[in-house]
Symmetry: D3
Subunit: 68 residues, 6 copies
Amino acid sequence: MQLSARNQLKGKIVSVDKGAVMANIKIEVTEPNTITAVITKESAEKLGLTEGDDVAAIIKSTEVIIGK
Amino acid sequence: MQLSARNQLKGKIVSVDKGAVMANIKIEVTEPNTITAVITKESAEKLGLTEGDDVAAIIKSTEVIIGK
Amino acid sequence: MQLSARNQLKGKIVSVDKGAVMANIKIEVTEPNTITAVITKESAEKLGLTEGDDVAAIIKSTEVIIGK
Amino acid sequence: MQLSARNQLKGKIVSVDKGAVMANIKIEVTEPNTITAVITKESAEKLGLTEGDDVAAIIKSTEVIIGK
Amino acid sequence: MQLSARNQLKGKIVSVDKGAVMANIKIEVTEPNTITAVITKESAEKLGLTEGDDVAAIIKSTEVIIGK
Amino acid sequence: MQLSARNQLKGKIVSVDKGAVMANIKIEVTEPNTITAVITKESAEKLGLTEGDDVAAIIKSTEVIIGK
């Protein structure tokens, strides 16, 4: 099955921490990646985003799905 | 300002594609990373996630925030 | 109150599992549904999505809001 | 590849509407489903959620990933 | 219908900007609010979050649902 | 660091409730705000959203990032 999600970062699990309902999983990424971000045009312009800019891709941990 | 979001991947913008309301930004990640994923304990157990497993961290592009 | 969220699947709760902060709720959907997905045009084209394709709509459980 | 995302609703694409950056895809679900929702314990208690309750699972269309 | 979503900020629409697939809506909030955020315990501890701290609640615009 | 996330509501923490993996944080917003919501054009039209409408901006607590 192919997924529409653009970001699929391959890695190895380094820790698994389970609570009653949720679990916190840490994955060490082992391959270089390109991240796709879709933001408002308004934000792209307010930040003046252009090729070559140094930026950070910020992702809340609850948004990450694990594929195995 | 420090952020609660666990995943902050540093990189360089390689393309900016603007539409009427949204923009698609691609970022080449330039530093190794550890990704934190919070999933249900149920999923962690159904997939049998344990240290050392090869997995993929899957993230939809609309979930990514850019910091510059 | 009408909601902008396109997907509102009617059903019946079959289980409630509470932890300290979060709860896992299972809902048996009782009516047929059409799911709306908004993805990048890039993904739609890479997957070659067209009418009649057999697909799966994949949704992380943390993204679901319950209305009662 | 197995996914940690609990909700995987099988169906058939009924329409594809592409804009400059995003695309709106409608999927007719063809199999009965159980939806898993993770919400705060606080919400589960304020709404008094219990087995047998009639509810709606509400999902914004930008949160849906397509698998094909 | 009551919603499990903890944050429901009342306000008035000040602008509507439509593209081909998406629309950008701005809402002026007219009532004081309390925001509920669910983050990892790990983040709460790394940021040392405690009562009385001055913080910002950061929300990507694609995560907001409108009720009317 | 500037963020692409349009919504950054300033406030003061009023409670911190920690579980095993997740924590529930309440923030009293102390400044007036404008909320940006990106929804489908389809929803904007079905709800007939126009300037001056009284609406609610609905946000699930798992979507909120805290900056300190």
